[in-house]
Protein backbone atom coordinates (compact mmCIF):
# COMPACT_ATOMS: atom_id res chain seq x y z
CA UNK A 1 0.00 0.00 0.00
CA UNK A 2 1.07 3.59 -0.58
CA UNK A 3 2.03 4.63 2.91
CA UNK A 4 2.53 8.29 1.93
CA UNK A 5 -0.61 9.77 0.51
CA UNK A 6 0.20 12.47 -2.10
CA UNK A 7 -3.10 14.26 -1.41
CA UNK A 8 -2.16 14.60 2.25
CA UNK A 9 1.24 15.92 1.18
CA UNK A 10 -0.47 18.43 -1.15
CA UNK A 11 -2.76 19.46 1.73
CA UNK A 12 0.29 19.89 3.97
CA UNK A 13 2.04 21.95 1.29
CA UNK A 14 -1.08 24.09 0.80
CA UNK A 15 -1.16 24.70 4.56
CA UNK A 16 2.55 25.61 4.44
CA UNK A 17 1.87 27.83 1.43
CA UNK A 18 -0.90 29.66 3.30
CA UNK A 19 1.25 29.93 6.42
CA UNK A 20 4.19 31.44 4.54
CA UNK A 21 1.82 33.67 2.53
CA UNK A 22 0.52 35.16 5.79
CA UNK A 23 4.06 35.47 7.13
CA UNK A 24 5.13 37.12 3.85
CA UNK A 25 2.22 39.54 4.01
CA UNK A 26 3.20 40.49 7.59
CA UNK A 27 6.86 40.81 6.62
CA UNK A 28 6.00 43.05 3.65
CA UNK A 29 3.88 45.25 5.90
CA UNK A 30 6.78 45.43 8.36
CA UNK A 31 9.15 46.27 5.51
CA UNK A 32 6.94 49.18 4.36
CA UNK A 33 6.69 50.47 7.96
CA UNK A 34 10.43 50.09 8.49
CA UNK A 35 11.20 51.92 5.19
CA UNK A 36 8.85 54.72 6.18
CA UNK A 37 10.38 54.94 9.64
CA UNK A 38 13.91 54.98 8.15
CA UNK A 39 12.93 57.79 5.76
CA UNK A 40 11.39 59.87 8.55
CA UNK A 41 14.32 59.22 10.89
CA UNK A 42 16.80 60.29 8.20
CA UNK A 43 14.84 63.48 7.46
CA UNK A 44 14.62 64.39 11.17
CA UNK A 45 18.30 63.56 11.69
CA UNK A 46 19.45 65.75 8.76
CA UNK A 47 17.26 68.71 9.79
CA UNK A 48 18.26 68.37 13.44
CA UNK A 49 21.93 68.17 12.55
CA UNK A 50 21.72 71.26 10.34
CA UNK A 51 19.82 73.32 12.94
CA UNK A 52 22.10 72.15 15.76
CA UNK A 53 25.23 73.17 13.89
CA UNK A 54 23.58 76.53 13.11
CA UNK A 55 22.32 77.52 16.53
CA UNK A 56 23.95 75.22 19.09
CA UNK A 57 27.63 75.31 18.18
CA UNK A 58 29.44 77.51 20.72
CA UNK A 59 32.87 77.33 19.04
CA UNK A 60 31.50 78.17 15.62
CA UNK A 61 29.43 81.08 17.02
CA UNK A 62 32.40 82.59 18.90
CA UNK A 63 34.70 82.16 15.92
CA UNK A 64 32.31 84.04 13.65
CA UNK A 65 31.75 86.74 16.28
CA UNK A 66 35.47 87.30 16.83
CA UNK A 67 35.91 87.73 13.11
CA UNK A 68 33.21 90.42 13.06
CA UNK A 69 34.50 92.18 16.18
CA UNK A 70 38.03 92.26 14.83
CA UNK A 71 36.96 94.26 11.81
CA UNK A 72 38.63 97.76 12.26
CA UNK A 73 35.33 99.65 12.07
CA UNK A 74 33.86 97.60 14.92
CA UNK A 75 37.10 97.40 16.89
CA UNK A 76 37.18 101.18 16.98
CA UNK A 77 33.68 101.23 18.56
CA UNK A 78 35.01 99.28 21.57
CA UNK A 79 32.30 96.66 21.65
CA UNK A 80 32.68 94.50 24.75
CA UNK A 81 32.15 90.80 24.63
CA UNK A 82 31.01 88.91 27.73
CA UNK A 83 31.04 85.15 27.19
CA UNK A 84 28.87 83.06 29.55
CA UNK A 85 28.11 79.34 29.66
CA UNK A 86 25.18 79.43 27.25
CA UNK A 87 25.37 82.91 25.74
CA UNK A 88 27.53 85.86 24.79
CA UNK A 89 26.61 89.51 25.38
CA UNK A 90 27.93 92.24 23.07
CA UNK A 91 27.66 95.75 24.37
CA UNK A 92 28.74 99.24 23.30
CA UNK A 93 27.68 102.34 25.21
CA UNK A 94 28.29 104.57 22.25
CA UNK A 95 28.77 103.38 18.70
CA UNK A 96 28.79 105.51 15.57
CA UNK A 97 26.42 105.05 12.63
CA UNK A 98 28.87 103.32 10.27
CA UNK A 99 30.10 100.87 12.88
CA UNK A 100 26.53 100.13 13.98
CA UNK A 101 25.42 99.52 10.38
CA UNK A 102 28.35 97.21 9.77
CA UNK A 103 27.92 95.33 13.03
CA UNK A 104 24.15 94.88 12.66
CA UNK A 105 24.50 93.92 9.01
CA UNK A 106 26.96 91.17 9.94
CA UNK A 107 24.93 89.95 12.95
CA UNK A 108 21.68 89.78 11.03
CA UNK A 109 23.18 88.18 7.93
CA UNK A 110 24.81 85.42 9.97
CA UNK A 111 22.81 82.61 11.56
CA UNK A 112 23.15 83.74 15.18
CA UNK A 113 20.47 82.93 17.72
CA UNK A 114 19.81 86.54 18.83
CA UNK A 115 17.82 86.17 22.03
CA UNK A 116 17.66 89.87 22.87
CA UNK A 117 18.54 93.12 21.14
CA UNK A 118 18.51 96.71 22.34
CA UNK A 119 19.58 99.62 20.09
CA UNK A 120 18.91 103.07 21.44
CA UNK A 121 19.54 106.26 19.52
CA UNK A 122 21.68 108.67 21.58
CA UNK A 123 21.96 111.50 19.07
CA UNK A 124 22.10 111.97 15.30
CA UNK A 125 25.44 110.15 14.96
CA UNK A 126 25.62 107.69 17.85
CA UNK A 127 23.63 104.93 19.53
CA UNK A 128 24.04 102.40 22.31
CA UNK A 129 23.75 98.69 21.61
CA UNK A 130 23.34 95.48 23.60
CA UNK A 131 22.97 92.12 21.85
CA UNK A 132 22.60 88.75 23.51
CA UNK A 133 23.40 85.64 21.43
CA UNK A 134 22.59 82.16 22.74
CA UNK A 135 23.74 78.69 21.73
Amino acid sequence: MNRINPIQIIALIVVLFLFFSFKLSDAKEELVEEKDSYKKTSQIAIKLDALKSTYKDKTKTLKKLNKILNYPLVKKAEVTKDVKSSKVVLEAESINKQSLNYLMGKLLNNTFNISSLNIKKLDEKTASIKVEIKW
Binding site: P6, E34, Y38, S42, I44, F112, S116, N118
Partner: protein, 309 residues
Protein backbone atom coordinates in the same frame (compact mmCIF):
# COMPACT_ATOMS: atom_id res chain seq x y z
CA UNK B 1 -7.86 -18.79 3.61
CA UNK B 2 -5.70 -17.52 6.33
CA UNK B 3 -2.47 -19.04 7.57
CA UNK B 4 0.68 -18.04 9.31
CA UNK B 5 3.40 -16.68 7.01
CA UNK B 6 5.99 -16.03 9.65
CA UNK B 7 6.08 -15.03 13.26
CA UNK B 8 5.04 -11.50 12.49
CA UNK B 9 2.91 -11.12 9.37
CA UNK B 10 0.10 -13.36 8.09
CA UNK B 11 -0.56 -13.89 4.39
CA UNK B 12 -4.09 -14.01 3.04
CA UNK B 13 -5.59 -14.78 -0.34
CA UNK B 14 -8.03 -12.09 -1.44
CA UNK B 15 -10.87 -12.90 -3.77
CA UNK B 16 -14.42 -11.60 -4.20
CA UNK B 17 -15.65 -14.91 -2.79
CA UNK B 18 -13.28 -14.87 0.23
CA UNK B 19 -14.76 -14.93 3.72
CA UNK B 20 -14.32 -11.89 5.97
CA UNK B 21 -10.95 -11.68 7.74
CA UNK B 22 -11.25 -11.13 11.45
CA UNK B 23 -7.85 -9.78 12.31
CA UNK B 24 -6.34 -6.51 13.44
CA UNK B 25 -2.76 -7.66 12.75
CA UNK B 26 -0.71 -6.65 9.74
CA UNK B 27 -1.20 -8.89 6.71
CA UNK B 28 0.31 -9.56 3.29
CA UNK B 29 -2.30 -10.00 0.56
CA UNK B 30 -2.14 -12.26 -2.48
CA UNK B 31 -4.59 -11.03 -5.09
CA UNK B 32 -6.82 -13.55 -6.79
CA UNK B 33 -6.54 -13.67 -10.62
CA UNK B 34 -10.10 -12.25 -10.65
CA UNK B 35 -8.69 -8.92 -9.39
CA UNK B 36 -6.18 -8.26 -12.15
CA UNK B 37 -5.47 -8.73 -15.85
CA UNK B 38 -2.23 -10.46 -16.82
CA UNK B 39 -0.32 -11.08 -20.04
CA UNK B 40 2.82 -13.13 -20.58
CA UNK B 41 4.75 -11.58 -23.45
CA UNK B 42 8.12 -11.57 -25.10
CA UNK B 43 9.48 -8.15 -26.01
CA UNK B 44 12.66 -7.03 -27.81
CA UNK B 45 13.81 -5.16 -24.71
CA UNK B 46 15.97 -6.25 -21.83
CA UNK B 47 14.81 -4.43 -18.75
CA UNK B 48 11.55 -3.90 -16.89
CA UNK B 49 12.27 -0.16 -16.97
CA UNK B 50 11.98 -0.15 -20.76
CA UNK B 51 8.66 -1.98 -20.62
CA UNK B 52 6.97 0.33 -18.11
CA UNK B 53 6.17 3.14 -20.60
CA UNK B 54 4.52 0.55 -22.90
CA UNK B 55 2.22 -0.99 -20.30
CA UNK B 56 -0.84 1.12 -21.03
CA UNK B 57 -0.63 0.45 -24.76
CA UNK B 58 -0.24 -3.31 -24.19
CA UNK B 59 -3.68 -3.43 -22.57
CA UNK B 60 -5.30 -0.90 -24.88
CA UNK B 61 -8.66 -2.04 -26.31
CA UNK B 62 -8.73 -5.08 -24.00
CA UNK B 63 -9.68 -3.59 -20.65
CA UNK B 64 -13.24 -2.59 -19.74
CA UNK B 65 -13.82 1.05 -18.76
CA UNK B 66 -12.06 1.96 -15.52
CA UNK B 67 -9.03 3.60 -14.01
CA UNK B 68 -6.13 1.16 -14.10
CA UNK B 69 -2.65 0.93 -12.69
CA UNK B 70 -0.01 -1.20 -14.33
CA UNK B 71 2.91 -3.34 -13.23
CA UNK B 72 5.47 -5.68 -14.76
CA UNK B 73 8.12 -8.15 -13.74
CA UNK B 74 10.46 -10.38 -15.70
CA UNK B 75 10.69 -14.13 -15.39
CA UNK B 76 13.47 -15.68 -17.50
CA UNK B 77 12.84 -14.30 -21.04
CA UNK B 78 9.19 -13.49 -20.47
CA UNK B 79 7.62 -10.34 -19.17
CA UNK B 80 4.49 -10.68 -17.03
CA UNK B 81 2.46 -7.47 -17.40
CA UNK B 82 -0.47 -6.60 -15.16
CA UNK B 83 -3.38 -4.17 -15.11
CA UNK B 84 -5.49 -3.68 -11.99
CA UNK B 85 -8.00 -1.25 -10.52
CA UNK B 86 -6.74 0.26 -7.26
CA UNK B 87 -10.21 1.38 -6.21
CA UNK B 88 -11.75 -2.07 -6.76
CA UNK B 89 -8.99 -3.79 -4.72
CA UNK B 90 -9.17 -1.19 -1.98
CA UNK B 91 -12.95 -1.51 -1.71
CA UNK B 92 -12.68 -5.30 -1.54
CA UNK B 93 -10.03 -5.07 1.23
CA UNK B 94 -12.39 -2.89 3.28
CA UNK B 95 -15.39 -5.05 2.37
CA UNK B 96 -13.59 -8.10 3.75
CA UNK B 97 -13.11 -6.46 7.14
CA UNK B 98 -9.57 -5.18 6.75
CA UNK B 99 -8.29 -1.67 7.26
CA UNK B 100 -5.96 -0.49 4.45
CA UNK B 101 -3.42 0.51 7.13
CA UNK B 102 -3.17 -3.17 8.17
CA UNK B 103 -1.89 -4.18 4.74
CA UNK B 104 1.86 -4.74 4.60
CA UNK B 105 2.36 -5.78 0.94
CA UNK B 106 0.11 -6.82 -1.92
CA UNK B 107 1.16 -9.51 -4.40
CA UNK B 108 -0.34 -11.03 -7.54
CA UNK B 109 -1.25 -14.72 -7.38
CA UNK B 110 0.73 -14.94 -10.64
CA UNK B 111 4.02 -14.03 -9.03
CA UNK B 112 3.53 -16.05 -5.85
CA UNK B 113 1.60 -19.16 -6.91
CA UNK B 114 2.97 -19.91 -10.42
CA UNK B 115 4.80 -22.98 -9.09
CA UNK B 116 1.85 -24.88 -7.63
CA UNK B 117 1.30 -28.34 -8.97
CA UNK B 118 -2.20 -29.05 -10.22
CA UNK B 119 -5.29 -27.29 -9.02
CA UNK B 120 -5.51 -25.85 -5.54
CA UNK B 121 -8.80 -25.09 -3.83
CA UNK B 122 -8.99 -21.52 -2.59
CA UNK B 123 -12.57 -21.45 -1.30
CA UNK B 124 -15.77 -23.54 -1.43
CA UNK B 125 -16.46 -22.84 -5.10
CA UNK B 126 -13.13 -21.93 -6.72
CA UNK B 127 -9.67 -23.32 -7.41
CA UNK B 128 -6.55 -21.94 -8.98
CA UNK B 129 -4.60 -23.71 -11.65
CA UNK B 130 -1.50 -22.92 -13.69
CA UNK B 131 -1.97 -23.15 -17.44
CA UNK B 132 0.85 -22.24 -19.83
CA UNK B 133 2.58 -20.41 -17.02
CA UNK B 134 -0.46 -18.29 -16.17
CA UNK B 135 -2.30 -18.67 -12.86
CA UNK B 136 -6.01 -18.91 -13.61
CA UNK B 137 -9.16 -19.14 -11.51
CA UNK B 138 -11.52 -22.03 -12.15
CA UNK B 139 -14.81 -23.24 -10.69
CA UNK B 140 -14.19 -26.27 -8.46
CA UNK B 141 -16.15 -28.67 -10.56
CA UNK B 142 -14.11 -28.11 -13.72
CA UNK B 143 -11.00 -29.87 -12.48
CA UNK B 144 -10.08 -32.28 -9.74
CA UNK B 145 -8.15 -30.48 -6.98
CA UNK B 146 -4.97 -31.87 -5.60
CA UNK B 147 -5.47 -30.11 -2.28
CA UNK B 148 -6.10 -27.00 -0.27
CA UNK B 149 -3.86 -23.93 -0.75
CA UNK B 150 -1.57 -23.44 2.28
CA UNK B 151 -0.10 -19.95 2.31
CA UNK B 152 1.89 -20.56 5.48
CA UNK B 153 4.51 -22.52 3.52
CA UNK B 154 4.83 -19.83 0.88
CA UNK B 155 7.94 -17.73 0.49
CA UNK B 156 6.82 -14.39 -0.95
CA UNK B 157 8.69 -12.76 -3.82
CA UNK B 158 9.80 -9.17 -4.15
CA UNK B 159 7.14 -8.41 -6.78
CA UNK B 160 4.65 -6.53 -4.65
CA UNK B 161 2.55 -3.56 -5.74
CA UNK B 162 1.40 -0.30 -4.19
CA UNK B 163 -2.29 0.47 -4.20
CA UNK B 164 -2.95 4.13 -4.81
CA UNK B 165 -5.92 5.20 -2.77
CA UNK B 166 -6.83 8.23 -4.86
CA UNK B 167 -5.96 6.92 -8.28
CA UNK B 168 -9.62 6.85 -9.30
CA UNK B 169 -10.05 10.57 -8.43
CA UNK B 170 -6.85 12.04 -9.84
CA UNK B 171 -4.37 10.12 -11.94
CA UNK B 172 -0.85 9.81 -10.63
CA UNK B 173 0.67 12.17 -13.18
CA UNK B 174 -1.78 14.97 -12.35
CA UNK B 175 -1.27 14.33 -8.66
CA UNK B 176 2.50 14.67 -8.91
CA UNK B 177 2.13 17.71 -11.20
CA UNK B 178 -0.11 19.31 -8.56
CA UNK B 179 2.38 18.35 -5.88
CA UNK B 180 5.24 19.85 -7.89
CA UNK B 181 3.36 23.07 -8.62
CA UNK B 182 2.22 23.52 -5.02
CA UNK B 183 5.78 22.87 -3.80
CA UNK B 184 7.14 25.35 -6.31
CA UNK B 185 4.73 28.06 -5.19
CA UNK B 186 5.44 27.31 -1.53
CA UNK B 187 9.19 27.58 -2.14
CA UNK B 188 8.71 30.82 -4.06
CA UNK B 189 6.68 32.31 -1.21
CA UNK B 190 9.20 31.00 1.33
CA UNK B 191 12.07 32.46 -0.71
CA UNK B 192 10.34 35.85 -0.98
CA UNK B 193 9.61 35.74 2.76
CA UNK B 194 13.29 35.13 3.56
CA UNK B 195 14.35 37.97 1.23
CA UNK B 196 11.77 40.33 2.79
CA UNK B 197 12.88 39.48 6.34
CA UNK B 198 16.50 40.13 5.31
CA UNK B 199 15.49 43.49 3.84
CA UNK B 200 13.69 44.41 7.06
CA UNK B 201 16.89 43.58 9.00
CA UNK B 202 18.97 45.61 6.55
CA UNK B 203 16.77 48.70 6.91
CA UNK B 204 16.71 48.32 10.70
CA UNK B 205 20.53 48.32 10.67
CA UNK B 206 20.58 51.38 8.39
CA UNK B 207 18.25 53.16 10.82
CA UNK B 208 20.57 52.31 13.71
CA UNK B 209 23.46 53.74 11.72
CA UNK B 210 21.52 57.02 11.26
CA UNK B 211 21.08 57.18 15.06
CA UNK B 212 24.82 56.69 15.56
CA UNK B 213 25.97 59.02 12.77
CA UNK B 214 23.83 61.95 13.87
CA UNK B 215 24.07 61.18 17.63
CA UNK B 216 20.31 61.10 17.97
CA UNK B 217 18.49 60.59 21.27
CA UNK B 218 17.31 57.02 21.94
CA UNK B 219 13.63 57.67 21.20
CA UNK B 220 12.06 59.38 18.22
CA UNK B 221 9.78 61.29 20.56
CA UNK B 222 12.81 63.02 22.11
CA UNK B 223 14.27 63.76 18.67
CA UNK B 224 10.98 65.14 17.35
CA UNK B 225 10.66 67.34 20.42
CA UNK B 226 14.23 68.65 19.92
CA UNK B 227 13.57 69.32 16.25
CA UNK B 228 10.40 71.24 17.16
CA UNK B 229 12.41 73.34 19.61
CA UNK B 230 15.07 74.17 17.00
CA UNK B 231 12.47 74.89 14.33
CA UNK B 232 10.85 77.34 16.74
CA UNK B 233 14.22 79.11 17.22
CA UNK B 234 14.72 79.15 13.44
CA UNK B 235 11.26 80.65 12.85
CA UNK B 236 11.86 83.34 15.50
CA UNK B 237 15.24 84.26 14.04
CA UNK B 238 13.82 84.45 10.51
CA UNK B 239 10.94 86.62 11.75
CA UNK B 240 13.31 88.88 13.70
CA UNK B 241 15.38 89.54 10.60
CA UNK B 242 12.30 90.06 8.39
CA UNK B 243 10.76 92.57 10.84
CA UNK B 244 14.02 94.50 11.36
CA UNK B 245 14.44 94.68 7.57
CA UNK B 246 10.88 95.99 7.23
CA UNK B 247 11.50 98.66 9.90
CA UNK B 248 14.79 99.78 8.34
CA UNK B 249 13.30 99.94 4.86
CA UNK B 250 10.49 102.32 5.89
CA UNK B 251 10.29 105.63 4.07
CA UNK B 252 9.95 107.94 7.08
CA UNK B 253 8.69 111.53 6.87
CA UNK B 254 11.41 114.15 7.53
CA UNK B 255 10.60 114.77 11.20
CA UNK B 256 10.17 111.15 12.18
CA UNK B 257 13.16 109.28 13.67
CA UNK B 258 13.66 105.71 14.82
CA UNK B 259 14.84 106.01 18.44
CA UNK B 260 14.71 102.49 19.79
CA UNK B 261 14.84 98.93 18.48
CA UNK B 262 14.34 96.36 21.17
CA UNK B 263 13.64 92.62 21.14
CA UNK B 264 13.29 89.76 23.56
CA UNK B 265 12.34 86.15 22.99
CA UNK B 266 8.70 87.03 22.32
CA UNK B 267 8.53 90.36 20.53
CA UNK B 268 10.36 93.12 18.66
CA UNK B 269 9.52 96.73 19.49
CA UNK B 270 10.39 99.80 17.43
CA UNK B 271 9.84 103.34 18.73
CA UNK B 272 9.50 106.30 16.40
CA UNK B 273 9.56 109.94 17.55
CA UNK B 274 7.94 112.94 15.90
CA UNK B 275 5.00 110.99 14.53
CA UNK B 276 1.88 112.95 13.67
CA UNK B 277 -1.37 111.47 12.37
CA UNK B 278 -0.30 111.72 8.73
CA UNK B 279 3.05 110.04 9.42
CA UNK B 280 1.26 107.41 11.53
CA UNK B 281 -1.07 106.57 8.59
CA UNK B 282 1.86 106.47 6.18
CA UNK B 283 3.88 104.11 8.41
CA UNK B 284 0.86 101.87 9.03
CA UNK B 285 0.12 101.72 5.30
CA UNK B 286 3.71 100.73 4.49
CA UNK B 287 3.56 97.83 6.96
CA UNK B 288 0.15 96.82 5.65
CA UNK B 289 1.51 96.71 2.10
CA UNK B 290 4.22 94.33 3.29
CA UNK B 291 1.53 92.09 4.89
CA UNK B 292 3.19 92.22 8.28
CA UNK B 293 1.20 91.45 11.38
CA UNK B 294 1.83 94.06 14.09
CA UNK B 295 0.27 96.19 16.79
CA UNK B 296 0.77 99.92 17.05
CA UNK B 297 0.09 102.60 19.63
CA UNK B 298 0.60 106.32 19.27
CA UNK B 299 1.18 108.31 22.44
CA UNK B 300 1.81 112.03 22.02
CA UNK B 301 4.24 111.98 19.09
CA UNK B 302 5.80 108.61 19.93
CA UNK B 303 4.73 105.60 17.87
CA UNK B 304 5.33 102.16 19.30
CA UNK B 305 5.25 99.26 16.81
CA UNK B 306 5.27 95.71 18.16
CA UNK B 307 5.96 92.57 16.15
CA UNK B 308 5.20 89.16 17.60
CA UNK B 309 8.13 86.79 16.97
Amino acid sequence: MFSKFDNKIDTIFLDIESNNFNTTDKVNIILSPSLYWVKKIKLPVKSVREVKPLLKSIFEDILPDGVYSYDVYKSYDDFFVFAYEDKKILELIEQKGLNPSQVNHIYFAQSELANISGAMKINKTQSIYVKDGIVVLLPCCWIKESGQLHLGDLKLSKNHIDIKQYNHIVDEKTLYTLLGVSMLFTFLVLFEYIITVKNVDKITKMKDEVFQTYSLKPTMMQNKSMLKQYEKINTKQTNLRTYIASVLSLKLPTDVTLTLLKSNSKKLTALFNGVDKKAYSSIKKQFKDKHIDLSTSLKNDTLSVEFKL
